[in-house]
Structure formats: structure tokens, C-alpha cells
């Protein structure tokens, strides 16, 4: 008899957690939140005895939560322009932003940051530090409009993957520094897309667990970007792969 109430409490508690995250949303998004709340309760009312469906729903909701963090700020973009929008997006995720000829702006320990940058409508964003942030493919919408971005740090971002790297080509005209160290989902397939960024001068691809052959990938990326300083696997790791490369070459004699 108590089981249905337990499920309802579980659903309500989860939803209360979701409600807290809505607190920071702009007003234009609030009606959507209300609709989702009704939908969730309606959904639970129809299927609350179904454990599997509830778990699948919670799994999907976890993904939607990440996408909500990476939503585009349409209203703010219209009012303040793409630079302030991109800066606000990064600061809300906990990253840091540097406008041209200005100091770095970053949130404090409690996530608060100064709102003075709202006056920088015409000032381009020069550098973005999104290290450790929850940015993903959708969130890059807010960054690709920063046409003068020179430095982008995506170190240790858990949701940056090969799809994200394939989206960076609009920054090819300005981007000079890209730091990808410690991203668990970046592989050599995504690094292959960086050949669009011909103005790149510094690239950090160290500590990428999804790259299958770090030393070989390091060499190939250096060949692909000849004007760029590539920081990658340490030389000891590269030396381990040295003997592996030679057998590959000798096992395939060149034939005309």
C-alpha cells in the first residue's frame, strides 16, 4: 500500500531538485518549466508502477538537464549582443571570460560574478576559459558567435566530444590557442577536424584517455598543423610507441 506513495515522493523530490535549477532561468523560459512540471506529474500518474519506465525517464531527464544548461540565450542576445551573451553563458557555467583590453571576469566561490560586463556590448571577447564546465555541443552555439575569440580553454570538460571539435571551424579566422587537456571524450577522430584552424599557434592535447595512440596522434596532428606548437603526450610515452611504428612500416613493403 505504501509503494505508490513512495514513487510519488521520489518523483516529487526529483522534481523539486529540478525546480531549484529553474530558479536562475530568465522569465521567458518559465512557461516551459511549468509545462514540464505538469507533464512529469501526468506521466507519473499514468505509469508510476512501472519501474523500468521511471528509470528510463530519469536517465533521459538527466540528459535533458545537461541540454538545458547549454541552451541558447535568444532574448539576451537580442538585447545585449553576442559578446555579452557568450560571456554570460560561460560565467553561468562557472567559467571565466576576458574581454578585449579588460581584466578576466570569473565567478567567486558562491558562483556570483560582477554584472559590469553588460556594458561591453561592442567590446569583443578575446579569451574564454571553460575548464571543467558542463558545456556540450549545444552550448557551443553561444561561443561560435564570438568572431574575435583568440584563446579557448576546454580542459577537463566532461561533455566535450568529437562532435564539438567539428563545430569549431567558424572560429578559424581568429582562434590561436586551444586547450583540450583532460577531456575524456575527445579522441583522435575529433582532433582531425582541427585542420580548419589554420591560425592556431598553441594546442594542448595532453591527457586524453580516448585517444588510442597518443604518440602517433601527436605526430599526425603536428603534421596537420605545421605552424602550431602542439603539447601532447610526454616523450616517454612516445618512445614506447616507437617500436610499434617500425613493424607497421616494414610489414608493408612499398610496391609500385
Amino acid at each position: 500500500m505504501a509503494a505508490p506513495w513512495a514513487f510519488l515522493r521520489l518523483g516529487i523530490r526529483e522534481w523539486n531538485g529540478g525546480t531549484r535549477s529553474i530558479h536562475g532561468m530568465s522569465e521567458s523560459v518559465a512557461p516551459g518549466g511549468n509545462q514540464k512540471r505538469r507533464t512529469l506529474l501526468q506521466y507519473l500518474g499514468d505509469h508510476f508502477y512501472d519501474i523500468q519506465a521511471l528509470r528510463e525517464f530519469l536517465l533521459l531527464r538527466q540528459m535533458l538537464k545537461l541540454n538545458r544548461k547549454n541552451r541558447s540565450f535568444i532574448g539576451i542576445n537580442e538585447k545585449y549582443g553576442p559578446y555579452v551573451t557568450g560571456a554570460l553563458f560561460i560565467l553561468k557555467l562557472g567559467g571565466a571570460v576576458k574581454f578585449q583590453d579588460k581584466e578576466w571576469i570569473r565567478p567567486n566561490e558562491r558562483g556570483r560574478f560582477s554584472a559590469d560586463f553588460l556594458a561591453f556590448r561592442e567590446v569583443p571577447v578575446e579569451a574564454v576559459d571553460a575548464s571543467g564546465c558542463a558545456i556540450n555541443y549545444l552550448g557551443l552555439d553561444n561561443l561560435l558567435a564570438l568572431k574575435e575569440l583568440q584563446s579557448l580553454s576546454l580542459q577537463r570538460c566532461p561533455n566535450v566530444d568529437d562532435w564539438c571539435l567539428s563545430r569549431l571551424y567558424p572560429l578559424a579566422g581568429s582562434l590561436q590557442e586551444l586547450l583540450l587537456a583532460g577531456c575524456p571524450r575527445v579522441s583522435e577522430r575529433g582532433l582531425a577536424c582541427l585542420h580548419h584552424l589554420q591560425n592556431l599557434r598553441r594546442l594542448d592535447i595532453s591527457d586524453l584517455p580516448a585517444v588510442s595512440h597518443p604518440g602517433l596522434t601527436h605526430i599526425l596532428v603536428e603534421e596537420m598543423l605545421p605552424h602550431c606548437e602542439v603539447l601532447g603526450a610526454d616523450w616517454a610515452q612516445g618512445l614506447k610507441l616507437g617500436p610499434e611504428q617500425q613493424p607497421q612500416d616494414t610489414s608493408s613493403p612499398v610496391s609500385a
Binding site: Q52, S166, R189, H213, V254
Partner: protein
């Protein structure tokens, strides 16, 4: 309320699928239940006649199914997935997938494909299908995630697709790129000088224009997508059986057409499934049949009576899909193009892409109509590479003058001899047979959108998201060819 509590106590295995032991319950559980049932029968009614009637039929398909999907390849699984996803109530539709070749040793779309995906088509519907597919692949774990199972890893290479056009084809390519951009594809045009700057290893002689997909194009592991789809649709309650459809039982009724001609409408009521490596067969009563048999769709359609009639009539119009053999070669070239290599389609029709990090490359070419190989077996013709593929390769990429073929394999296309485009939607006369076939080499990247379109037509009676009306069967009777210029 009290009954629900009891249901909760039964355990998660039965809850999500009701008490029907046919749906998704494993063979082991079924055998255990059969044993228990036999014991109860023996206790209540001792005697021999009862025992002989209770034999194990777990390897047979069910006797009734709402939808039977013929073919367990990428198209069949996609239709099954979307039927289950778009159904109004959970487990409302019983879906059975009849798969003749569950090891996919002869499949073309998944197992043997180079796994390419691009949006550079000349028909807007094809561009939309590819854009939806790439969105599906990007969010693959939102669609195909199964609780307690590892996530699907497609190993997607977003390196793009590069199409080269000669002077003769440059105008068509430019017009195509305009269509693609209208549909939202991120494609850019390049002059020979720009092409040389971006890819210095390309010999631009004979190239007048090139189009390159900056985003959402590349290649991926088709096998992972297939297995992920299969796992998901099985968890959604789709039934599978390994067998061959050998016969359809239909009913007919005569109707008069708009011009006074007499036509015969047919409806499939049953189909016979012959089990693999056995003479045993099982009739399956069904309401809807989805023909997703790939290269053998024409054979299935003929079994259903499609094409039996006077030539030149709708009744006598066959499904023009037949198996065609295609070769894929893997070669090694230490001086070949580097990490940035896209999927390249040359002016001569030769295509190739990088494979891994060790200077390996994968590619091939579609033969001309006269060179079409015999599809009776899957033997590889290595002379085809030496005489038809390699000269164009070496001309376009001079580093490929010194390459060594490592391996090769062959697979079947579901080749549409009419216009090399897919057949989607219902047959006008066999009113409950639907097609999802005939994509002639680009089916892998279109299967996800086509599956959704077929599911929409089955469940809601019309195309909702992507309008696939130009791909209906009636165009064969009306001689209305669809022009698609960019087919590898």
C-alpha cells in the same frame, strides 16, 4: 490499488511487459514455465495424451503479430524502433522482425559499408534525411540508451565529405550546394586553388569545382549503430525470429479505377516463415507487412504478387530492386594523405577515405552498367581495382601511385534500377505492404529518417516530419524518375 501492490511484488522482469511470456522474456524463463506447467498438468490430469501435446515452440515466431518486418538490417530495425517509439500506448503494437541472415554476412548497409554520411544530395528530401540521421547519431544515447547497459559508441569521424566536379558537372554541383544550404547543411564550395591550399595532396587537374561538408559529415562504425538499435528495440518489446518468408496468403477484391479499368486489390492475411536450416515453418497472421529485405526486396514483393499482371498497368508494375555486388578495398600507403583526410569522391566516381591512424585507406568505385559483376556470389575481383580504381586514384592523389592492397570484400546493394532512389510507403494495390528499401548504396545514412517516415504512415496515415511522397511506389507506374546526381 491493492492489485498494483501485488504487481510490484512480482518483480521487474514481468512488470514492464505484463504477463505475456512471448514478449521479450528469455528462452530460459519460458522453458522453466513450460516445465512447471507440465508438472501441474501431470498432477491434475495424469495420462499420456497431455504430455505429447506440450512441446517446446520457443524457436518459432508467434502465430499472430500486428506488424511483421521482413529484414533485420538497418532499415528493419529502424522501422521497428520508430513503430515502438511512436505508438500511443506502451506495448500497444506487437512487432515481429523476420531476419534471414542474423549474422549480416551478406548485408550491405551495415556490416560492409564504409559508414559514410553526408548531406550533399540534389534532392531536398535526401538532404533532410541525412540531417536528421546526423542529429540522431549525435544524440545516439538519448534515443538508444538502455538502463543498465553501456552507452553506444559510434566512433564517428567528423572529417567531412569532399565532392570533386569536372567542368561538365560544375554547374550541377553549384546548384546542388544551393539546395543543400537551403535545407540547413553546412557545405562550402571551393575553387581548385582553394582546394589545393586546403588539401595539398590533391592533384587538381581536371577539377573545376569542389564541395566540402564542414560539419555533420564523415563516417562512423555502422556495426555499432546496428547492434545498438537491435538492443534497444529488443528492450522495447520487439520480437525477433530467424527465418525466411516463403509464402503470402492474401485475399483479393476487384475494384474499378477512375478510368473504368478493372483492378485487383489485395490484402495480406498470413505469411509463412520457414525456420533457418529446417523444413519447419510457421504461419503468422499479420495486419501489416513492412518489406525491408534490402537486396531481396524484389523477391519478397514478387512473392506477394506485386508485378503479376499485364505489362504497362499498375498491377503489372514490379518493384525494380535487385541485388548488385559492390567491392570495397583496403590499402596501405605510407606516404598517403594525413589525419585531415575527408571522404573523397572523385570526378571519375572513385571514392576513398582514411581508415585508422596507420596510413590505411578504404575505397572503391561503382562499376558502369556494362561492367556490372555477377551477384551470384561474394567473390572479389581484384582486377577491377587494378584496372578501374587505381588509375583514377593515382591520378587524383599522386601519393597513391605506390600503394599495396591489404584486403577487400564485397557486399550487396539494394539497387533500384529505375532511378537509384529509395522506395518508401505503401503499395497502392497490396494495401497492407509497406516498403523501406531500394536506396542503392546510401541507405545506411537514410535508414533512421526513413524508418520514422514509414512508422508515421503506418500509425498516422501520412508523412508527418519529412514528406517522402516523391518516393512512393506509384512513380514506377507513372514513369516519374527522381533525379539524384550525387550517389557514390
Amino acid at each position: 490499488m491493492f492489485r498494483r501492490v501485488l504487481q510490484l511484488g512480482l518483480g521487474p522482469g514481468l512488470l514492464t511487459r505484463g504477463l505475456s511470456t512471448r514478449r521479450g522474456v528469455s528462452t530460459l524463463d519460458w522453458d522453466a514455465k513450460v516445465s512447471e506447467f507440465k508438472k501441474k498438468i501431470e498432477c491434475i490430469l495424469p495420462g499420456k495424451p497431455w504430455e505429447t501435446q506440450l512441446y517446446d515452440t520457443s524457436h518459432l515466431p508467434p502465430e499472430q503479430s500486428d506488424v511483421v518486418i521482413i529484414g533485420g538490417g538497418i532499415f528493419g530495425l529502424s522501422v521497428a524502433f520508430w513503430l515502438k517509439k511512436l505508438e500511443k500506448k506502451q506495448d500497444a503494437i506487437r512487432v515481429l522482425v523476420v531476419d534471414q541472415d542474423h549474422t549480416y554476412s551478406q548485408a550491405s548497409s551495415a556490416g560492409l559499408s564504409v559508414g559514410g554520411i553526408w548531406q550533399q544530395f540534389s534532392m531536398p528530401e535526401n538532404v533532410r534525411l541525412s540531417l536528421f540521421s546526423v542529429e540522431f547519431l549525435r544524440n545516439i544515447n538519448e534515443y538508444l540508451a538502455v538502463v543498465d547497459a553501456p552507452p553506444v559508441d559510434l566512433r564517428f569521424n567528423p572529417s567531412g565529405c569532399l565532392l570533386l566536379a569536372s567542368e561538365k558537372d560544375a554547374a550541377a554541383l553549384e546548384n546542388n550546394v544551393k539546395i543543400q544550404r537551403q535545407e540547413g547543411a553546412k557545405v562550402c564550395l571551393m575553387s581548385p586553388e582553394q582546394l589545393q591550399n586546403k588539401f595539398p595532396w590533391v592533384n587538381t587537374e581536371g577539377v573545376a569545382l569542389a564541395s566540402y561538408g564542414m560539419e555533420n559529415e564523415g563516417w562512423f562504425d555502422a556495426w555499432s549503430l546496428l547492434q545498438g538499435l537491435r538492443r534497444k528495440v529488443r528492450s522495447m518489446g520487439v520480437l525477433f525470429c530467424q527465418g525466411e518468408v516463403t509464402r503470402f496468403i492474401t485475399s483479393s477484391s476487384c475494384v474499378e479505377g477512375p478510368n473504368g479499368e478493372e483492378m485487383v486489390l489485395k490484402r495480406i492475411h498470413k505469411l509463412h516463415v520457414k525456420m533457418d536450416k529446417s523444413l519447419e515453418y510457421q504461419p503468422v497472421e499479420c495486419a501489416i507487412v513492412i518489406n525491408a529485405a534490402g537486396a531481396w526486396s524484389g523477391h519478397i514483393a514478387k512473392l506477394a504478387g506485386i508485378g503479376k499482371g499485364p505489362p504497362g498497368t499498375l498491377q503489372g508494375t514490379k518493384l525494380p530492386v535487385e541485388p548488385r555486388k559492390r567491392y570495397v578495398y583496403l590499402w596501405h600507403c605510407p606516404q598517403g594523405p594525413g589525419l585531415e583526410t575527408p571522404l573523397v569522391a572523385d570526378t571519375s566516381g572513385v571514392y576513398f577515405r582514411r581508415e585508422g591512424l596507420g596510413s590505411n585507406y578504404l575505397g572503391g568505385c561503382s562499376p558502369t552498367e556494362e561492367e556490372e559483376p555477377d551477384p551470384a556470389n561474394l567473390e572479389v575481383d581484384h582486377d577491377f581495382f587494378q584496372n578501374k580504381v587505381w588509375p583514377h586514384l593515382a591520378q587524383r592523389v599522386p601519393a597513391f601511385q605506390t600503394l599495396k592492397v591489404q584486403s577487400a570484400w564485397a557486399g550487396y546493394y539494394d539497387y533500384n534500377t529505375f532511378d537509384q532512389n529509395g522506395v518508401v510507403g505503401p503499395h497502392p494495390l497490396v494495401v497492407n505492404m509497406y516498403f523501406a528499401t531500394g536506396f542503392s548504396g546510401h541507405g545506411l545514412q537514410h535508414a533512421l529518417g526513413v524508418g520514422r517516415a514509414v512508422a508515421e504512415v503506418v500509425l498516422e496515415g501520412e508523412f508527418k516530419t519529412i514528406n517522402m511522397s516523391p518516393f512512393l511506389f506509384t512513380r514506377f507506374y507513372l514513369e516519374d524518375k527522381l533525379q539524384e546526381y550525387n550517389i557514390l
